[in-house]
């Protein structure tokens, strides 16, 4: 069985935020929530590195482990999803996640957060596939249509890959072999050519 994963190639990511925009537009993500965001180290300096971060759909998801009401479930191919109707907005999953993927749309009195929202790998949620209810709560369900996450499909440099972990790893392995340099080498040749 395939295991769906994301991989962001830091050598190729140019911090265009195309993935962020694509995600936010496609799923009409609430204000204040960034399902996907680009993190840049040494911004503006030679050798800066950017990486696109969203829910990593962990095999042993800490968010699912700490949830007091067990709203998380994992599909056969490793996509971690949750039921917003059951969510109590406690924020435990946000504290547990090392990537800060679960986010909350509200900042109201008495620490009211609203329902947790996170990257769904474009797989929607526990509603009828491609229904209005699913779109309103979880965004577009591209996986049921045989499509891959839009962030990866929109990536201009093919830095962000999303799909079967074996296929993703295969592509990245070929890139590493082609580059032939240390991970710290940077530049056009390192990303696309061979040294």
């Amino acid at each position: 069985m395939a295991r769906m994963k994301f991989l962001c190639d830091a050598e190729r990511c140019i911090e265009c935020n195309g993935c962020v925009t694509a995600c936010k537009n496609e799923h009409e993500v609430p204000w204040g929530v960034n399902r996907r965001r680009v993190v840049t180290l040494n911004d503006g300096q030679p050798g800066e590195k950017s990486i696109s971060v969203a829910c990593m759909h962990c095999t042993d998801a800490p968010c699912a482990a700490v949830c007091p009401v067990d709203v998380f479930y994992t599909t056969e191919d490793g996509i971690v999803l949750h039921d917003k109707d059951q969510c109590i907005g406690c924020g435990y999953c946000f504290y547990a996640c090392p990537f800060g993927a679960p986010q909350f749309p509200q900042q109201a009195a008495f620490a009211v957060r609203g329902k947790m929202d996170k990257c769904t790998f474009c797989a929607g949620g526990p509603e009828a596939d491609n229904s209005d209810a699913e779109y309103a709560k979880y965004g577009r369900n591209r996986i049921s249509e045989g499509k891959l996450p839009l962030c990866a499909e929109m990536c201009a440099t093919k830095a962000l890959l999303a799909g079967d972990g074996d296929l993703v790893a295969d592509i990245y392995r070929k890139r590493v072999l082609k580059r032939g340099g240390r991970p710290q080498t940077w530049g056009w040749e390192a990303a696309y050519g061979s040294k």
């Binding site: 067990d70 599909t75 596939d129 891959l148 990866a152 079967d164 296929l167």
Partner: protein
């Protein structure tokens, strides 16, 4: 007059009390058990056809350049 006011009070009181309805369909949490709705995507993913389509799309669109 008094009777009229009493009747009016009872009727308006009944109308106001209809707002007190509460949906008693609650989920009782049991540790480690997912009690949310069923996701139809789970059964679709068990079929190999959808997985094949996704793999084909990956090879077509995200293979290296």
């Amino acid at each position: 007059m008094r009777i009229l006011l009493t009747v009016l009070f009872l009727v308006s009181g009944s109308l106001v009390l209809t707002a007190c309805y509460e949906d008693v369909d609650v989920s009782i949490h049991e540790p480690g058990e997912y009690k949310g709705q069923k996701d139809p995507l789970l059964s679709e993913l068990k079929q190999q056809q959808l997985q094949k389509e996704l793999d084909e799309r990956f090879k077509a669109g995200q293979s290296d350049r």
